[in-house]
Symmetry: C2
Subunit: 350 residues, 2 copies
């Protein structure tokens, strides 16, 4: 087990990472005055363990899936917290994947202006990325993450125990973020490249997870509130990924991040920012994780992405060379036409 710390101007966060992290946490805490937010899938797999480990906790189960990440479900959780008569000394535990972490974290940040939050991520994606850093959010009126807060969890419990029940698609999702970290951090890229043939093996995933968390912890400590540009790097692949996700809706967030990175690599090369051989290296890892890349070309939703303060301009963070990234800003029309061109090439059109 390993403890990674993040100190920001507003708080301190401790990420406890490794085998038995969950067991250790519940050994010292029985769930007294705690409110657990989880989803139906996670509860069906780990409900018994949860009730046995945190016998005194109140458990609130939301419907599994991205469609739960909205203001109506947020309100139902907050109402549940009011009904449970939680106090300022209560603790909220978000036990699940990215959706549970985002919405449970937001609820914890809002209840009585903030109660202690513990994140227990159960998917690979939330373990390597979303449970760390204090971003919480729900979607509204079709705009992703438009309602949210910055709110650091007091603790994050990252236990590989939960990876065992994840379907391959969920691992692929997490690999989307892991490869993103590879594109930002040479040490992580090396580890991924060394394991390119066994990206789905638990040994590799367990080893790479703390590296991704450490990278993110460094970035968050520099730029908790997305103000000075450092944190922007973590959006690599996400602008295009989010736009596809909103339009096509069939795949999961992490898969669209992989697809978004693929398309943005095309733009990076096209604009002379990224060399072809480095782009090829990243592309081959993306394809190892995802398989065939689909031809998608509708990106209008990117105009309303909150990362863009001007709707006519699109800002992308793209890989430059090993361990380095760059920012490209394009007019929306130029951006959309480069995405179209990439889709044509994927389809085999000239």
């Amino acid at each position: 087990m390993e403890t990674i710390r993040i100190s920001t101007p507003s708080s301190h966060s401790e990420i406890i990472c490794g085998d038995s992290a969950f067991e250790n946490f519940t050994r010292e805490f029985d769930g007294q005055n705690a409110f657990v937010v989880t989803d139906g899938n996670v509860f069906s797999l780990y409900g018994d363990l949860l009730q046995k480990s945190l016998p005194k906790a109140e458990i609130f189960v939301i419907k599994a899936g991205e469609s739960s990440k909205n203001h109506r479900v947020l309100l139902s959780i907050l109402q549940g917290m009011v009904n449970a008569k939680l106090t300022k000394k209560s603790r909220v535990i978000a036990f699940g994947g990215g959706v549970v972490g985002d919405i449970g974290g937001l609820a914890a940040s809002l209840y009585m202006r903030g109660v202690e939050l513990v994140q227990i991520p159960t998917t690979l994606l939330s373990q390597v990325d979303s449970s760390v850093g204090g971003k919480t959010a729900v979607d509204m009126c079709g705009v992703k993450n438009v309602i949210g807060t910055f709110y650091q969890p007091a603790r994050v419990i990252v236990d590989p125990l939960f990876l065992g029940t994840l379907p391959k698609r969920e691992l692929r999702c997490g690999l989307g973020e892991i490869i993103k970290y590879g594109a930002l951090d040479g040490e992580i890229l090396q580890k991924i490249a060394q394991n390119s043939k066994n990206l789905f093996d638990f040994g590799f995933l367990k080893g790479v997870t703390p590296l991704c968390i450490k990278h993110k912890a460094r970035v968050v400590a520099m730029d908790e509130r997305d103000e000075n540009g450092a944190r922007k790097s973590l959006n690599l692949g996400h602008t295009t990924g989010h736009a596809f996700e909103l339009t096509y809706k069939r795949r999961s967030h992490g898969e669209y991040v992989l697809i978004g990175m693929f398309y943005e690599l095309f733009i990076a090369c096209n604009n002379g920012v990224c060399a072809g051989d480095y782009a090829d290296k990243l592309r081959s890892l993306i394809m190892r994780a995802l398989g065939k890349i689909p031809a998608l070309d509708e990106v209008s939703a990117a105009k309303y992405d909150k990362k863009n303060s001007e709707q006519s301009k699109i800002s992308l963070v793209v890989p430059k060379r090993e361990g380095e990234w760059a920012e490209i800003t394009l007019n929306f029309d130029e951006y959309a036409s480069q995405i179209k061109r990439c889709a044509q090439l994927i389809r085999g059109e000239k």
Copy 2:
């Protein structure tokens, strides 16, 4: 005009206070990319001025009154912000009294995890107290301020211009908080005592407002998030006031604060914390502001006040001697019985 600054670990806030503060603000800003939250009353009085002063701003009008301070109205504002396609660089202006400031501030803190907030308080209560300090909130399921954030406004524009149209009852509301500051701060108490016969005069109110804001600014800088106890002092009169407000609902917040202070003074004397002559001085100011004190005795709602982390105990901040306060903690039953006793005395029962 006077500028008062608050620096907290998470942000900086500037309070610009005095004649022409509003005009100066709108001279340098035309409302471009701004979203104004206001209420029907304020809009009927100042809608023309607002549209003339901030011609490019989008204006969102909520129903006037405490009943608007809930999660449904919050959602309608957030939806309005999404529909207006605000970006991270947009600015939210809360133009109105305490309800508009609380709900507009909360919306600003949540939209894209926080956009710039300007508070323009138009009531005496919001000018001397609620617009400063960054507490935002709405009520839910009958629990006051149970959903909220700490979010500092970048600027607060405190202009006496708006006091001219306030009914006497609204001035009385503000006097509730002003007398509270008097009970915490000897300099303010002296100023109030010197003007005890003209508490409703604008000259006095204009002069005492910056003193109250400075007191609050000092407390907020020490304890932004209500963590180390300093900020708790600002709740003087509020525990009982809130409990009455939730039960009886007829009067406004500031009036219940005056009433709450009166009852809590009784408890303070009863428990030997506050000397009788000092209590008499405060009581006479309360009665000058409010008139006759009503006999009220239902305080069960205090059990669910978020200031109390244990439901069976009630914590009160009460005046001790000039410029000093103390905290009293009572079992709920003891507290309720002392409130009952005070109501009996008011009714003239033995």
